[in-house]
């Protein structure tokens, strides 16, 4: 018995798929290229920090040089412990970008999964999943992260990201769900259903590309938010800790010394802003590329 006619028809239509088209568009888009460059630089910085730091050792600290302002030998000055700040900010990229990216990936995976299931199937699936989401919403991040981090007994990039994912996936879920709910009544979805396509196929090929736009926008901004959230966790006493090196830790220390040593805040915040900008541009371009109405 051959495949149902509907699937065959669909194959023909789907040849120039949404994703291939998107790539063609992105290749020549200047904003995407800027965002991509920033991403590549940051990832390179994360993987090869010693190259970017020109061999300086972030842990070579001399307390007598504490908080020196920027100078010719130390471009970013020295931090509170008397360590070269330039090296520290470069090495901080690894931890911070990793936390941002890991968290967003985790949030997207869970959010898209739960949100699309809840939004598409409705009924009891929606009820159960959405109520679970409500409970997670209600758990204060501070309590949840504290319990999780205490139980896992160590503070690393992985555990901090896990804490942020477990207690931060809900907004992504709501966004995906809302998009799916508003699209599921659309004509082309009804058409696909009439053609006999399976739910999975409909979700992945038809609904998600159109539903992902808001959650992608959210995700690109969220990368920056999660990197900042790491700083907030440290501020509350439940984040990473020295001698780890991250922008969050640096911003934390810098915050209590803004008046006397503003350079301590300026540099990690600058790097963080550039990273955030890069991700936002990337996300915008991606969204544009996936927009079916662009064509």
């Amino acid at each position: 018995m051959t495949e149902p006619a509907g699937v065959e028809a669909e194959e023909l239509v789907g040849q120039s798929s949404v994703w291939a088209d998107a790539w063609k568009y992105l290749r020549t888009n200047p904003l995407f290229l800027i965002g991509l460059t920033v991403m590549v630089v940051m990832v390179a910085m994360a993987l090869f920090p010693s190259v970017f730091a020109l061999g300086a050792d972030p842990t070579d600290c001399d307390l007598s040089m504490s908080r020196r302002p920027p100078s010719a030998e130390h471009w970013f000055g020295m931090d509170l412990q008397g360590c070269d700040y330039y090296a520290n900010v470069i090495y901080g990229a690894r931890t911070s970008v990793a936390i941002g990216v890991l968290t967003v990936i985790g949030v997207l995976v869970i959010g898209v999964l739960v949100g699309s299931l809840a939004g598409y199937f409705g009924g009891w699936a929606d009820t159960v999943l959405a109520r679970i989401t409500d409970v997670f919403f209600g758990i204060p991040l501070f309590l949840g992260a504290l319990v999780l981090l205490t139980v896992s007994a160590q503070r690393s990039v992985w555990t901090v990201s896990l804490a942020l994912v477990v207690f931060g996936w809900m907004t992504a879920m709501r966004l995906v769900r809302s998009s799916v709910v508003s699209i599921r009544g659309a004509d082309y979805v009804l058409a696909a259903q009439a053609l006999g396509a399976s739910s999975g196929r409909i979700l992945v090929r038809h609904i998600l590309p159109n539903a992902l736009a808001p959650v992608l926008i959210y995700a690109t901004i969220a990368v920056g938010t999660f990197i900042s959230a790491e700083a907030a966790l440290t501020y509350l006493g439940i984040g990473l800790q020295a001698p780890e090196i991250s922008w969050g830790l640096q911003i934390n220390v810098a915050q209590s010394l803004i008046g006397s040593s503003p350079h301590l805040l300026f540099f990690p915040a600058l790097f963080l802003s550039v990273t955030v900008l890069g991700f936002i541009l990337l996300g915008d371009a991606l969204r544009d590329a996936l927009d079916p109405k662009r064509r």
């Binding site: 007598s64 509350l236 006493g237 800790q241 010394l257």
Partner: protein
Amino acid sequence: MPGPTTLRRRTSLASVFGILILVAATLSGCTSAPQTPPGMFSFYLGEPQRPLVPGNTTESEGSKIISAVWTPLVTFDVKSRAVTYDGAAQSVTSADNVRWTIKLKPGWTFHDGTPVTAESYVKAWNYTALSTNAQGGSYFFSNIAGYDALQAEDGGKPAATRMSGLHAADPTTIEVTLSAPFAIYPVTLGYSAFDPLPEFFYTDPVAFGKKPVGQGPFQSATEWVPGHGMTLTRYDDYAGKDKAKSRGVVMRMYTELSTGYTDVLAGNLDILKNLPPDAYASAKDVFKDRYLGQPSPDITTLGFPMYDPRYSDVRVRRALSMAIDREAIVDAIFLGTRVAADSFAPPTVVGYRENACGQWCEYRPDEAKRLLAEANFDTSQPVEIWFNAGAGHDGWMTAVGNMFRKIGLTYRLRGNLQFNEFLSKRDAKEMTGPFRLAWIMDYPSIENFLATQYATAALPPAGSNTTFYSNPAFDAALAAGNRARDIADANKAYQRAEDILVNDLPGAPIFYGMDQTVWGKRVSNVHYDIRNDVVLEDVIVDGQAV
């Protein structure tokens, strides 16, 4: 004219918003922070952790209110630290340092008009000592004969409700019998746990804890509202030496020092004790003569886990102590707002000797390396440094760690614990390396810094000896001091005890604190008492004493 569907949709939309606004409006209550009426001034306060009852308040914020609403039995001369009798007591005397007679000054009244008698004290002390009343200050009475009978055993009931060694001989005389001689007993009586309670307390302790009634220069005008504060007004019938020079004080609650500092700059807050790190260096220049900085009677020590074999060799402890450049930490991390420690007690207490710690508290990294090698310390394992999170200790702990690196060690910071967990682990002998130890003075004697942290009698859970140091020679020296004829002799014995500590170094003293206070233009005559608390009754508002 919009169609029916649109109309329906608009109505539903409107009704949803309407409901939301209604809900919000009903939920919006009406509380506001106390404003500062004329003739009164405002004072920065953190949140008291316990109800405002003297026997239950052992933390710094509640103490500020307690010390405004009560006057203690004895007072101290700020310069000499000697006991003076400008408080509620006329004299505290003893022939044998075991039986003490406390004579009260007559004519004192509580803020509700009832008289203060010896029985007010006796009843209050028994109440605090009785374990079923769950008062935090209970242990202050542990040296009175009969105290143990008031402690419940394992879920049972206490054997008695009144200590046998305590009674009121007449309305102005309290007779105390201690379980052992204690030469400096009068010095301890300056602590707030010994304050009297009016009869009203026993009828409604909960209400009392929100609006305390004492016999001091200020009385509670309002209740203490958590998160907001309370107002105290001048008690006109105060029988003590110095009536309040202002109409009252508004205790305003803050959670952030930086916010308080900004408010003082703006003139919204009158007095701020303790500055945010950003202001450490600049406050003096900004506030000029409205700034007061004095060393504070507290000490921060790096305790060693004496139960851990890795640190049981005294050479290791000495080495680690010599590896720390205390001056550098004080200058770089604290911008000069701490004082490098050179003894086990701060300079502000009676019995302090300069440089008692000697060579072990000096910065000698080469000697440290040598000693570590001599002791065969395992440098392949990192040194774990423990402290509680979120309280600003990261800076100097990291600096200490970096200094350990300079003598060839690696370190790991274990500063992720919340305060609760940290305390529990410390008490349970779970420290795997040096840890933070801090003590703030209860009364101005070196004994308070030695016995409470290093005596065998102070081993947890009964006390705060979390290094679990136990040395009979040290205990004997302390006991000799307690048995001494007078305070001067007692101090000599206590100093001998300190020498033993210096030799054994169960902890490495790191720094003493400093209290910095700034105040606005409205107030003047701001100075400290012996605890570096601002003497609130002396503060003058707008240049006019009331």
